[in-house]
């Protein structure tokens, strides 16, 4: 067919010799090889990463299971002397640390989740990318990089300056942790609010619903599963913090349920303290019930408990997210 005569489109178009661009066998092969190579590399990345990850979990589980039993979960560390068994037949436990962990993280949640959500609401629903909002969202990003030890120093400085030197209590730890949680909460909520389709806001507003109710009943409700899982990630980020809590919440071997007074032990701090003890002494006349390696065994068992708590939290979060899952179109 005489091409040029018919097509007005291609008038004046350069003539292309498409044979030149035909894929050659070698180019095809090299592309295929590259594809295969990258597939291999990506698979390999995965395998490489699995080695340490599996090793961490495996070590913790194997070492942790040795001492993880009901007794360990129902007693604290009072009256535990050296490697000797306690009257209940155990070797001390972590009930005080579990309570401390839950209360301190709970305190951090109570502080940071409402603030975080409202801050995200401000950024997404009210600020519309104004200058202040840009600054705030930039600072939130920056804040997410605050090292946990700095958060600890901050809470320590604040409490010792405001409430007098030597102040150590659970809520001080909560404040340190909430500083770490806050940016994570804000950012994940922000993301979640952003992906709520604008259609829904407009639909609600067009029904004559006030902005506040649109936000609480439509936007936040639609984003809820995402917010929940975001908050869980934030909790997971802080529940294992050790360094800031060493400074702020201290360490105690008995159970303290008062978040606002007295020292509190958390699981990670417990793990660290037991690791620091390394070995317990068994005097020469001790019976065979005395276990010299008991502190390390307790450390691993507590580490396992910590991992299990994190796992359960994750599961709960996912379940919540699934049950309330919201399908927005596309």
């Amino acid at each position: 067919m005489a091409e040029a005569t018919k097509k007005k489109n291609l008038d004046g178009a350069p003539v292309i010799d498409f044979d030149k661009f035909r894929p050659t066998r070698s180019s095809e092969n090299s592309r295929k090889r590259k594809d295969l190579f990258m597939t291999g590399l990506i698979g390999l990345a995965f395998v490489i990463a699995c080695i340490p990850l599996v090793s961490v979990l495996w070590t913790t589980i194997v070492n942790g299971l040795k001492r993880l039993n009901l007794n360990f979960l129902s007693y604290n560390m009072t009256g535990v002397v050296g490697g000797n068994p306690t009257p209940s037949g155990g070797y001390g436990g972590v009930v005080h640390a579990i309570i401390g962990t839950l209360e301190i993280t709970g305190g951090a949640m109570v502080i940071s989740i409402p603030i975080g959500i409202m801050c995200a609401v401000y950024l997404v629903e009210y600020a519309h990318g104004g200058k202040l909002a840009m600054t705030i969202s930039l600072l939130v990003d920056v804040m997410s990089g605050i090292p946990s030890i700095v958060a600890g120093l901050f809470a320590f400085s604040m409490f010792t300056i405001v409430f007098g030197p030597g102040t150590i209590n659970g809520i001080e730890g909560s404040v340190a942790l909430s500083l770490l949680m806050l940016p994570t909460v804000v950012k994940s909520c922000e993301e979640m609010l952003k992906i709520v389709p604008n259609d829904l806001r407009e639909a609600s507003l067009a029904l004559g619903v006030t902005k506040q109710r649109t936000i609480t009943k439509i936007v936040l409700r639609t984003a809820l599963p995402g917010i929940v899982s975001g908050c869980i990630l934030a909790i997971a980020r802080v529940i294992g913090e050790t360094a800031p809590l060493l400074m702020t919440a201290g360490y105690i071997s008995s159970t303290n349920v008062n978040l606002f007074s007295g020292q509190m032990t958390t699981l990670p701090v417990f793990v660290y303290q037991e690791y620091s003890k390394l070995n317990a002494n068994c005097p020469v006349h001790a019976t065979s019930a005395c276990v010299p390696t008991i502190p390390m065994e307790r450390a691993w068992a507590a580490a396992l408990v910590l991992i299990i708590i994190v796992l359960v939290l994750n599961l709960i979060g996912r379940l919540v997210a699934k049950v309330f899952a919201v399908k927005t179109e596309r």
Binding site: I42, A49, M118, G145, L182, Q212, L233, V271, V310
Partner: protein
């Protein structure tokens, strides 16, 4: 049904609630600024004796921290800063490519069922506390990794970074970087996985439709789409690495030099681990000094995150 002739535009209820809600939202936004300012101010206040206090006492404190190697604050903090940055960047370098690989594996290579499981495992790993990584790194990894680093030092020793002899046990920057890489890997992985999964199907099909292989599709559609997400994930990861305390504390054999001999012990130390190591035995002035170094760490992470954020902004325009 009847059309009740409502008067036109009667005032709607809920105006007060509307205003209060808006006020709270604004206040929470502002609170972020206040909190950051508070962090800075409280730290600064506690570190004040470093500047406003008795300088000879300060010198004595620092000299006692360093065994007399230096008695100036900067002489103390700069090597720490160097060590902090060195370890974190190494960790990021190690983790980055592997994380992107895993993220792609989960988002585009693994069968759906496996991918869900893997994602879950990765999310879980992000939550493993650093103290556990510290235990694992110090007790399991250090002896296990020695043969490898020794091999590296033997055959790649001509590269200054790997100058031998490899310390035994390997409580070195290299090993710590590996542990930190493992720790930050889930962060980068899970964030970039989420982004990769969001790549519009349309873009991916556009690439496939042109006859792209899977990898070419990823290069054409997935990576460009995820670029800024990857940067911000890495930034978060770097932030975490910069401030990581327990794992470094429990593994690294510290030193206060500007050395880059990754395989030798007692070369570098990080600010965060140094604070944790010195804090328990520090007296009042010592605590001020440590808080001073903490303030520096705070400013550094601030600057790094700020810069990274600016990069992300530019990239996404």
């Amino acid at each position: 049904m009847s059309s009740q002739d409502t008067p036109v535009m009667q005032p709607a209820g809920g105006k007060t609630a509307d205003k209060v809600f808006k006020g709270i939202a604004y206040a929470c936004g502002i609170l972020i600024l206040v909190v950051l300012a508070a962090v800075f101010l409280f730290l600064f206040f506690r570190a004040w004796p470093l500047i406003g206090g008795d300088q000879s006492a300060n010198s004595a404190t620092i000299s006692s921290f360093t065994g007399g190697k230096t008695n100036s604050f900067w002489g103390y903090v700069l090597p720490l800063l160097f060590g902090t940055v060195l370890v974190s960047i190494l960790a990021l370098l190690i983790a980055f490519f592997i994380s992107i690989g895993i993220a792609l594996f989960i988002s585009h290579y693994a069968p759906k069922k496996i991918a869900t499981g893997l994602s879950y495992v990765v999310d879980l790993l992000a939550a493993i506390p650093s103290v556990i990584y510290g235990l694992w790194g110090g007790l399991i990894l250090v002896p296990a990794i020695y043969p490898f680093w020794n091999w590296v030092a033997t055959y790649l020793g001509w590269i200054p970074l790997f100058a031998g002899p490899a310390a035994n046990p390997q409580r070195t920057v290299a090993t710590v970087a590996v542990v930190l890489a493992v720790m930050v890997l889930p962060i980068i992985t899970s964030m970039s996985r989420d982004i990769f999964l969001q790549t519009p199907t349309l873009q991916q099909e556009a690439a496939y439709g042109l006859g792209a292989t899977k990898w070419e599709m990823i290069k054409l559609a997935v990576i460009p789409f995820g670029k800024s997400g990857i940067v911000s994930a890495s930034m978060l990861a770097l932030g975490r690495a910069l401030g990581e305390t327990m794992a470094v504390l429990m593994i690294l054999s510290p030193g206060l030099t500007y050395s880059i001999k990754l395989l030798q012990a007692s070369q570098n130390q990080t600010i965060a681990a140094n604070i944790a190591a010195q804090y328990p035995e520090a007296n009042d002035l010592g605590v001020s000094t440590l808080i001073g170094t903490g303030l520096i760490l705070f400013l550094i992470t601030f600057v790094v995150n700020y810069a990274a954020r600016k990069i992300t902004e530019k990239a996404s325009v």
